[in-house]
């Protein structure tokens, strides 16, 4: 007998609390300001702002504004697609270290023709300087920055 397959789809609702630190972060973000928190022990500025330093295991409460410009720490050109993918390929996903931060955040790099990988490779590499391109109508989510563009 031909083995059979049962098909179904599961969709479930979730509603994650941002918590006080993320709420404050995104309130500032909505105003196009980016904040980290400085660890009193190791001195690092951790971006996005957070409630504790995982290494020193101490609470953090010193908020430090960082710039909306930074450096590409690493990147990839995403050319494949799958069910549940948040972005439409092709796109460039990158880890960006903002000026004033000791950590990097993942975001998009765009603002130029992304259809050809070789042209993308010619435009960006590790170390490329980028700056945020903000949405006109910010809402307080990480996508208030539409993408980072090479400076």
């Amino acid at each position: 007998m031909e083995p059979r397959i049962l098909k179904d789809t599961i969709a479930l609702p979730y509603q994650w609390a941002l918590g006080p630190v993320n709420t404050r972060f995104f309130q500032e973000f909505k105003e196009r300001r980016i904040f980290g928190t400085r660890c009193p022990k190791c001195g690092r500025v951790l971006v996005p702002a957070r409630a504790f330093c995982a290494r020193c295991f101490v609470p953090l409460d010193e908020w430090v504004q960082v710039r909306d410009e930074g450096t590409i720490k690493t990147w990839t050109y995403v050319a494949y697609s799958y069910v549940g993918q948040p972005m439409q390929p092709p796109y460039v996903s990158a880890l960006i270290q903002l000026d004033g931060a000791d950590t990097a955040i993942p975001h998009l790099v765009a603002g130029f023709d992304l259809s050809n990988l070789e042209e993308v490779r010619a435009r960006i590499r590790v170390g490329t300087r980028v700056r945020a391109v903000w949405r006109e109508d910010t809402e307080g989510t990480i996508l208030d920055i539409r993408y980072f563009e090479p400076v």
Binding site: L46, Y77, L117, R125
Partner: protein, 388 residues
Amino acid sequence: MARKVAVVGTGQTRHGKRQDVSYPEMIREAVVAALEDAGLGWEHIDAVVCGSMPPPMEGTNAPHLWWADAMGAGGKPLLRVATCGTTGISIAHAAYYHVASGLFDVVLAVGAEKQYEGESQGTMTTVGEPFFQRQFVAGAPGVFAYQCNEYAHRYHLDEERVRAAAAEIAVRNHVDALDNPFAHLRQRITVEDVLRSRVLAYPIRLLDCCPASDGACAVIFAAGEVAPRITRTPAWVAGVGYAGEEHWVGDSDKVWWQSARQAALQAYRMAGITDPLEQLDVAELYNPFSFQELIFYELFGFCGPGEGCRLVEEGVVRRGGKLPCDPSGGVLCTNPIGATGLIRVAEAAMQVTGKAGAHQVEGARTALAHAIGGTQQINGVMILTSLD
């Protein structure tokens, strides 16, 4: 002095697209094979440890409850451990500590995945938390492509050279898989095929990337006192190491990757390994993407930082070389993720006990098994040896 523990039996399913069997049936295949290999009956198993990738991947919550009967776990202690990509090695670690603690003498470890039953990349994207990272983390290839690009830049390596070495690793894994009857991808490919295959997430191309597999693996661990009565060829657990880092992918260095370093160093310390290239005979590395393997050579001390390509170019890491890596064909040819780390342990045990068949590395005595997981967040290592 900690209690000695050995692997006394291993079993694997044929890996690949396994729509011929249900999830529990597939698991049963591996468990029966492991029991046969050890010459043990169900009644000899004192406890069971199992795991897989996130349950949303196959759509059944707490799947160990469903698997319990297939694993013969009824009336026994059962523990599900799940640590993302490291799940398989975490299962082995848990089984090891079950025995090392003195609570149990013989423990069955089971890892499984049925990637064809769900959306694995979609699920893995949800490893990123929803506020900052999920939007940008493009499944596993996207995350690990970050690491590959950063690697080439860090050591000022010519990108073409790195791509060639990675392609060579892909070819070597595919050739080796032809000698492994359990392997999923069994096809001969060339360096040109790899370099010409389509880009998934630059620099990772289709043939640099593991397949999505269905499959299961079972490994039986036994206490030092009983292992020699079960088998003439116990594979002793000589070293165990594991480390994780921050959730934030951008918080720590993924090239000189501390969790991988720490996991290996813990295991080396326990196993008394000071010169891994000399003291290890085989390594089953977790290489879902060819490039990553270069980084692991360096992190595990097979060579210095930035020297990974050289090991490939000089043939050190191929069969016949000083330290053959992934003679099974590796993760690159077979990746039922929740089983994958445990398959590394099984393969390492098979190698050091001379049971690896056509892909046996001549005279292998000590082998390293490894797995990674999370958004470049965690690493686990286990070292097995036939040396008493």
